[in-house]
């Protein structure tokens, strides 16, 4: 995917030859849309098997991560963004992981103390 269509637009980017590039993007958007629909059906179908909770959580999370990645990479154009945005998101991801890990540690009743 070209960087031209994904960075903020400048007047050059809206010129006629750029429309060809956008046509390619539109085809990708449609493909991603179909993939998201299929993955939604997969999520609901798998939940009907009533798998054990750890397996069900793992499967649901994997499918959700794939779907989320498709949205972020293609609809939000993260597949070809500028380094500064990747840096911001890397920092956010690090803090997000801390947010999720803290409750897990708490549930283990402060194992580091014993």
């Amino acid at each position: 995917m070209s960087d031209h269509a994904t960075a903020s637009v400048t007047s050059d980017h809206m010129a006629g030859d750029h429309a060809v590039d956008i046509d390619k993007h539109v085809r990708i958007y449609i493909t991603v849309f179909v993939a998201l629909m299929v993955l939604t059906i997969v999520t609901v179908t798998v939940s009907r098997f009533h798998l054990p909770v750890p397996i069900a959580v793992t499967v649901a999370l994997i499918v959700a991560i794939i779907k989320g990645s498709l949205v972020a990479c293609y609809f939000m154009h993260l597949i070809s963004e500028k380094k500064l945005i990747y840096a911001v998101l890397a920092l956010t991801a690090a803090f997000f992981v801390v947010l999720l890990v803290v409750p897990v540690i708490t549930v283990h009743d402060g194992f580091w103390v014993h």
Partner: protein
């Protein structure tokens, strides 16, 4: 005074100010929803028993809402692509579709909430419903906020297209980034609350 770097790229960031601004805002949103997801994990793992979502919630309606929201993400990105192709009327159709789909999402959510209230399943009933109402309520507010911004760009804000089409296209792209983020949050909320 003109707002700087709305159209031209800043040399130091390689981005327009609006683009970096919306991503910083989305980073704060990740932390907001992240805190609530962490609360969900804490409450669920600490509870002796936890109901499966599909025993208390309406999975078919939530699946319909998932389809609606994913479709609205496609119409949103197509609205932006239409502006890139300089097709303003097509933009209006796609943006109008996005707003209507958002409205459809909220209507479905209204029916879901109404059914719960009718059954006496209120936020104070148990921890599952408390976290369900908190997460879906906050998400619903984001959908409503995104719809308001999109409606502005569909209506009065569209005047900018005549005077500065590049800036208008960038603004629609930034509104789209927020809308896709709202879709992204729902992609994780749906299995977490309804299916597990």
């Amino acid at each position: 005074m003109d707002i700087p770097y709305t159209v031209e790229i800043r040399r130091d960031t390689g981005l327009t100010n609006g683009k970096i601004g919306i991503w910083l805002f989305l980073a704060s949103e990740v932390m907001l929803f992240g805190a609530l997801f962490a609360s969900y994990i804490l409450i669920r793992t600490g509870a002796p028993t936890w109901p499966r979502g599909d025993t208390m919630l309406d999975v078919p309606l939530a699946t319909l809402n998932t389809i609606i929201l994913i479709s609205s993400s496609v119409t949103m990105v197509m609205a932006w692509a239409s502006l890139m192709r300089r097709r303003f009327e097509t933009f209006r159709i796609y943006m109008g579709g996005t707003i209507l789909l958002g409205f459809g999402f909220l209507i479905v959510k209204y029916f879901e909430y109404s059914a719960h209230f009718h059954e006496g399943a209120l936020p104070g009933t148990n921890n599952f419903l408390a976290i369900y109402y908190t997460l879906t309520g906050l998400h619903g507010l984001h959908v409503a906020g995104g719809m308001a911004v999109n409606a502005y760009f569909w209506g009065p804000g569209a005047k900018l297209w005549k005077t500065n089409p590049v800036w208008f296209t960038n603004r629609v792209e930034h509104a789209g980034l927020f809308w896709h983020f709202v879709d992204l949050v729902w992609i994780f909320l749906f299995p977490t609350l309804y299916l597990l």
